[in-house]
């Protein structure tokens, strides 16, 4: 599928070598490590430049000598080879000089590392939990937590729609952090190993089941920063982005207050949802959306599943069997499979509607309706 944008890119790509020589700033930015917005990220950039420069200088010397020899000592110019083949002195020199250079590199690396590993005295702690394939953020001090899912629509991924600016790097709910505070991250995982990475903070910390790892950052500038999971974690590893919205301190405090309020409103909303008796049409409507958002990556939008890895729900045993088993499967998941527990992730209404949807879509015709109150009681 060669689209217009592709052809455009093709063109740019052909001019790539021409650009390499020029000092096009925008281009240079894409080629270098990101400077980021923390003191640490900038120090790491310096270390990167410093080590790169050392490598380039050594490279120029070694390859320069080699190319000189290729030029001057080729047979047509230098028919009679010399016979020397050993020199203890030279060997000693080119063993010790590199050691000295390496010490010169190790010193700034060590001092940066000691600062990076200093996790003490945090102002704020966020527990980050990776699971296939989304992040959960828990503000430990504020008793506030939520999931963050990729927001890029399927149609863009499958090339049916033009890709947005932040293709694959956008989420439904970003992590929100304040500037100028030492934020401590604790990382862990529910299923397999993930890795939480935001290049602009130079924080990359593996999230490992059974472990709680520590990292920290102190962000200098407000803004939106993006990253991705950096450890292969299964099928949709490419689709678990990270988005961090960094606010000035007062705005951040206000945001926390707003979130607390929203939780109270939501719990009020949940009470109202439970009190109501929903019709099949209403539930199916909501349920379809929930299914597309959360279940279709594995079970497919038409419920056909993917081979034996992800079972088909169309005509499936559980969606057409006893209701209690179905509710249990969705709420609690299946142990040690990618089918996770959805009870902590979805509201009563969402769970009730997605189960109703599954029992009455894809050709399933149980005519069963699940009400939010049933879910509430099952919790």
């Amino acid at each position: 599928m060669i689209s217009i944008t592709t052809r455009f890119r093709l063109h740019r790509c052909l001019t790539f070598f021409a650009l390499l020589g020029s000092s096009n700033m925008a281009f240079a930015a894409e080629m270098d490590m990101r400077a980021g917005v923390t003191d640490i990220s900038q120090r790491i950039l310096q270390l990167h430049h410093y080590s790169l420069a050392i490598c380039v200088v050594i490279g120029l010397l070694v390859f320069g000598t080699m190319f000189y020899s290729i030029y001057a000592h080729r047979r047509s110019k230098h028919p009679k080879p010399a016979t020397f083949h050993e020199s203890f002195r030279v060997e000693v020199i080119w063993t010790t000089v590199p050691v000295l250079i390496l010490i010169g590199l190790a010193i700034p690396a060590t001092s940066a590392l000691i600062d990076i590993e200093d996790n003490s005295d945090a102002d704020l702690t966020v527990l980050i939990t990776g699971s296939q394939w989304k992040w959960h953020y828990q503000y430990l001090e504020a008793d506030l937590g939520y999931y963050s899912n990729m927001a890029t629509p399927e149609e863009q991924i499958n090339n049916f729609e033009t890709k947005g600016r932040n293709y694959l790097l956008e989420v439904d709910r970003a992590l929100v952090l304040p500037t100028d505070k030492k934020v401590r991250f604790l990382t862990t995982a529910d299923d397999v190993i993930h890795s939480w990475w935001v290049p602009d903070f130079a924080v990359k910390q593996d999230a490992i089941p059974g472990y709680i790892n520590e990292a920290w950052t102190r962000i200098n500038t407000p803004g939106l920063y993006r990253g991705q999971c950096a450890e292969l974690c299964g099928k949709d590893h490419a689709y678990m982005p990270i988005e961090v919205e960094v606010l000035a301190e007062e705005e951040f405090d206000q945001w926390i207050v707003d979130q607390r309020l929203a939780i109270e409103l939501a719990s009020g909303q949940a009470v109202a949802d439970r009190a109501k008796t929903w019709t099949m049409a209403e539930l199916i409507d909501i349920g379809q959306q929930v299914f597309l958002d959360h279940c279709a990556t594995c079970h497919e939008a038409d419920g056909s599943g993917q081979g034996s890895t992800y079972p088909a729900l169309a005509g499936g045993e559980i969606p057409n069997g006893p209701m209690a088993a179905h509710i249990n499967q969705v709420m609690n998941g299946a142990v040690d499979t990618e089918m996770q527990a959805w009870a902590p992730q979805l509201s009563d209404l969402e769970l009730a509607s997605v189960i109703t949807y599954e029992r009455n879509a894809f050709g399933n015709t149980t005519a069963d309706i699940v009400q939010p109150i049933t879910i509430f009681e099952a919790r």
Partner: protein, 535 residues
Amino acid sequence: MAVTADHNIPNRSPLMAFLSRWLLTTNHKEIGTLYMWLSFVLFFIGGAMAMVIRMELFQPGIQFAEPLLYNQMVTLHGLIMVFGVVMPGFVGLANWQLPMMIGAPDMALPRLNNFSFWILPFAFTLLISTLFMEGGAPNFGWTFYAPLSTTYGPPSTDVFIFGVHLMGISSVLGAINIIVTIFNLRVKGMTLMKMPLFVWTWLITAFLLVMVMPVLAGAVTMVLTDRHFGTSFFAAAGGGDPLLFQHVFWFFGHPEVYILILPGFGIASQIIPTFARKKLFGYHSMVYATASIAILSFVVWGHHMFTTGMPLTAELFVMYATMLIAVPTGVKVFNWVATMWRGSITFETPMLFALGFVILFTIGGFSGLMLALVPADFQYHDTFFVVAHFHYVLYPGAIFGIMSAVYYWLPKWTGNMYDERLGKIHFWTAIIGVNMTFFPMHFLGLAGMPRRIVDYSLQFADFNMVASFGAGMLGLTQVLFLYIVIKTIRGGKKATGRVWEGAEGLEWTLASPAPLHTFETPPKFPTPEEDYPRD
């Protein structure tokens, strides 16, 4: 001698004769040929998978490889290239060359030699057949981290485990054979410190193999029992530790990367003196450098795990140890350059590949040194920067090493000279292809593109497209290589015994093609007609 059993038992159909010749052969040259062809076939299979990967990454969006298929391609590509191409390729070269270089009639354990080879076709058939199994092939990367490979692995993981066991058995037996051969069958007068460097590097590699392949076997066995027999070595929920897996794997894995490169060092050390017409500079320091690299490689596995939450002191130790490896590696590079210095150099294809090896491997070494700096590694780790690094050490490193060895010794094996003009075309297209494919990956990684992703955001589009074009070119030019090899086997200018005027070593005292059985009576060493007698 028992090893020279007659291959031509009369009254057999030609097919049977052909089969029994190749199935039952205990001749080191024939087994070497089998290894080389296996490696070549798998190079094309693994290469086809690389083409699938690069086509999928040609532009953003899903082109044709769904994520699950993509992950299978990445995994099998890695496994096949490491265990199926580079390792058998080097073993094939060892089989052909070691006995001829040390003046031995054959490998010390010829039947074992046959067995080690014939395990491999089964192992790789099993591995590749997983693609057609219910649930697909392994999809967790060649590093098969738990719990992705234990609790969450597809059913074919068990087949993969069996395959790895087979490869491990093959490698360990092959390595034992090499060690025994080198220690026992050297011609009189060839002391250890007079062995050619290819022999030295293989001896050290063989020790690495014997020491670490059992560790890999242990790792896959623990994965197996975690999957089926209720153990919890790597399952946090059962009191196990997912990080234990990584420690065990990389204790194998880092020496393994040196298994993949040390014989290449040996090859460069044979070829550069030949075409510079000058003795290898610093023979002794080359040997000591190789040995120190091998020893250090046992204490640096942690550099693959900097982001797993290692304590500061461990990070510092591993960083310093890893940086230290750059010293002996540098010594080797300096020695090669000094060998060329004031030589009388010509640039036949083997020399071109050897020079490509030295330059591009050194670039891979530079990025390795940068990766060793823990703070910087927090940014580089698990990005395309790492992919660029290990492809620079593996493609122009290990693979170019094998290719230059093939061009160098092919006239000895076949009796015919390869087509020099085609060889040069192959070299130049390969070197442009390698750099066009892998150099932009440094930029991708620095700009923040994680590795092992099926789809990427828009800012990475340009360099990915460049890399995909380069990969296409690099893939195509290997078809040319195949053509050159077949053409040489079938005919061409007759090669002399010495083949290269500057070549030194016992193998060149033999006729070309080398007869099936050589050195049945031990040769004289050092050879009287040696241009540059050894000290």
